[in-house]
């Protein structure tokens, strides 16, 4: 197993006290898999990713749990060792390509820097590798692209550069945090195709963070659904769409507008809104918004329990829910 996240807890020190943004998250990523990490804004998906890479400010952040990459606990590494891991064994692509590249250095400079940090090669070799990395992401005329500054490239090109930079050192694990959210639909499709291709071509594991179920359907092999800092459902991608077990997952799927079916029916919404991290409900965190909630749901917090085969759900009533009638029905 490439990545094993066990009971990851990430706490921040704030003016108003300590807040737990990620509360006991566990999941696994196998080589060659693309795991989709899904949820609304604020559910903790980005914080989970940044915790895996230990990118957060360690003066005000407390991590607990284990993050095992090929058996090695990343939380046990020294700062220097972790630096070697970042960009080398684990690489990350961020959401906003417009601001994620340093505006005062050329693309080539930034790519070569990534390469030289993790591989013992000369500058010329690094340049050649950089050019190849750009070519692999489908950028036309990679050699001249190396000489450009980020602001001279479009959003889609910049995202490809980010991906090239992440892949240049052949990481074992790629974490992509909403890589297509800031792009237009056509470019989005291209980038997703690229990600799928890359999966086919190597044994790299990928965590794809998104709030868009459409993206999940296109490229992911497995899905981990998060809500308010916890994992509430995990399943292979087909099962998520055909047999969603958790009411929240159902709600997410039901809100996807459909081209078929009754187009005059009102668009489904999940009632209420996500509680803030300072008012985490006792009991099931979704209970106040759940159409299936019982009084018992509000008293006892449910555990994340395995369900037939490869899935797990955090809901006491999941087996009592009515049959899933497909997208656009709850």
């Amino acid at each position: 197993m490439l990545l094993r996240v066990k009971e990851l807890r990430t706490r921040f020190a704030t003016d108003r006290g300590e807040v737990t943004a990620v509360d006991g998250v566990s999941f696994e990523v196998a080589p060659g898999e693309i795991v989709g990490l899904v949820g609304e804004s604020g559910c903790g998906k980005s914080v989970t990713a940044e915790s895996i890479m230990r990118l957060l400010d360690e003066r005000s952040t407390r991590y607990s749990g284990e993050v095992l990459l090929d058996g090695v606990d990343l939380f046990g590494l020294t700062a220097d060792q972790m630096r070697q891991v970042r960009g080398g064994s684990v690489a990350m692509v961020f959401q906003d390509p417009m601001t994620s590249l340093n505006p005062v250095y050329t693309v080539g400079n930034q790519l070569e820097e990534a390469i030289l940090l993790h591989q013992r090669v000369s500058r010329e070799q690094a340049r050649a590798l950089a050019e190849r990395a750009l070519a692999e992401t489908g950028i036309p005329a990679p050699a001249s692209c190396l000489r450009r500054y980020p602001h001279e490239l479009s959003g889609g090109m910049r995202q490809r550069v980010m991906i090239a930079m992440a892949l240049s050192c052949r990481p074992k694990l790629l974490i992509a945090d909403e890589p297509t959210t800031a792009l237009d639909v056509t470019t989005q499709a291209q980038i997703l195709d690229l990600i799928a291709e890359l999966r086919d071509g190597s044994n790299m594991g990928t965590i794809l963070i998104t709030h868009d179920m459409g993206v999940v359907a296109e490229v992911c092999t497995r899905v981990v659904v998060m809500y308010l800092g916890q994992v509430i459902e995990q399943a292979p991608v087909d099962e998520i769409f055909t047999r969603p077990a958790h009411p929240y997952t159902r709600g997410l799927l039901a809100s996807i507008p459909s081209l078929t079916g009754d187009t005059s029916a009102p668009l489904h919404m999940i009632d209420g809104k996500v509680p803030t991290l300072w008012e985490v409900p006792k009991g099931c965190r979704f209970a106040d918004r759940c159409p299936f909630a019982e009084p018992a749901c509000r008293d006892d917090a449910p555990e994340l329990l395995p369900v037939d085969g490869d899935r797990s759900v955090r809901c006491r009533r999941h087996s009592e829910l009515p049959e899933w009638a497909g997208v656009s029905h709850v």
Binding site: M53, L55, R59, R83, Q84, V85, R86, G87, G88, A91, M92, F94, D96, T99, S100, L101, N102, P103, V104, Y105, E113, A114, L117, H118, Y149, H151, E152, M162, M165
Partner: protein, 319 residues
Amino acid sequence: MIAYAGKRLLALIPILAVVGVTVFLVIHITPGDPAAIMLGPDATPDQVAALRQTMGLNQPLWAQFLDWAGRVLRGDLGYSVFLHQGVSAAIGSHLGPTLALAIFAEVLAVAVAVPAGITAARHRGTAVDQSFMGVALLGVSVPSFLLGLFLVLVFAVLLGWLPSGGYRDPADGLGAFLRFLVLPAVALAAMQAALIARMSRSSMLDVLGSNYIKTAKAKGVSEFLTVYKHAVKNAALPIMTVVGQSFGALMTGAVVIETVFNIPGMGQLVINSIQRRDFVVIQGVVLTIALIYVLINLVVDLLYGVLDPRLRAERSGVT
């Protein structure tokens, strides 16, 4: 590059116009007759009339302004009846010490403040940061002439290590030149250093919060390089602007400091002229310093254009 520079120069014209008009009006807002005031209460009406004629004060205001503007553009800043010298010549002989003081102070300020600000930003929230910024706050609160007086009290009166005033030409020996200039330069530099340090810190903090810094960290770049390679180049531009502007502030601060330390520069020239009501000299000095100020800002603007690749690209039309 040309277009950008051209735009900047064009924007200067209205500013220079306002500066010119303001300086010109200085003589004319005096309650009473400027010529009479300049000559003092013992002057005879004939002497006053003669001076009015020489100074062209009997012409309509707009004509006087055009006259004056024309002469200024040719470099003629007028003639001082008290100094028996052309104003331009007087300014020329007094400019040296002021410039020397300002440059020395600028070097001191930048050398101390920029690293301090960057360090404070790197260690944000810690004791280092708070103590540096505490000192900076003090620096901003102590006017330079006051600091100068205190420094004289401590280092000249109390300890006797440094002279309490005076100026030595660098041609007569670099050591003496520096010895006499150290206290005034430190006094001048303190406030600007505080401002530069605060600006360096906030500019660095801004940059350190950017997404591309996160990317650098995610690539495995060391903390040192993240700060000094990735962050500093981006933070440099606002810092440069403040440094550039601070030179102007140093030149004007020198005006008062020169009085504290008896330095024969522009400051002494202007202040002595106030007491004598020598308007022509005052006009000349104020105009010169204002022009230097404006020029410095222009140079900083242009440098900005050269150094920021985004602005360069706008000009070459590639997006």
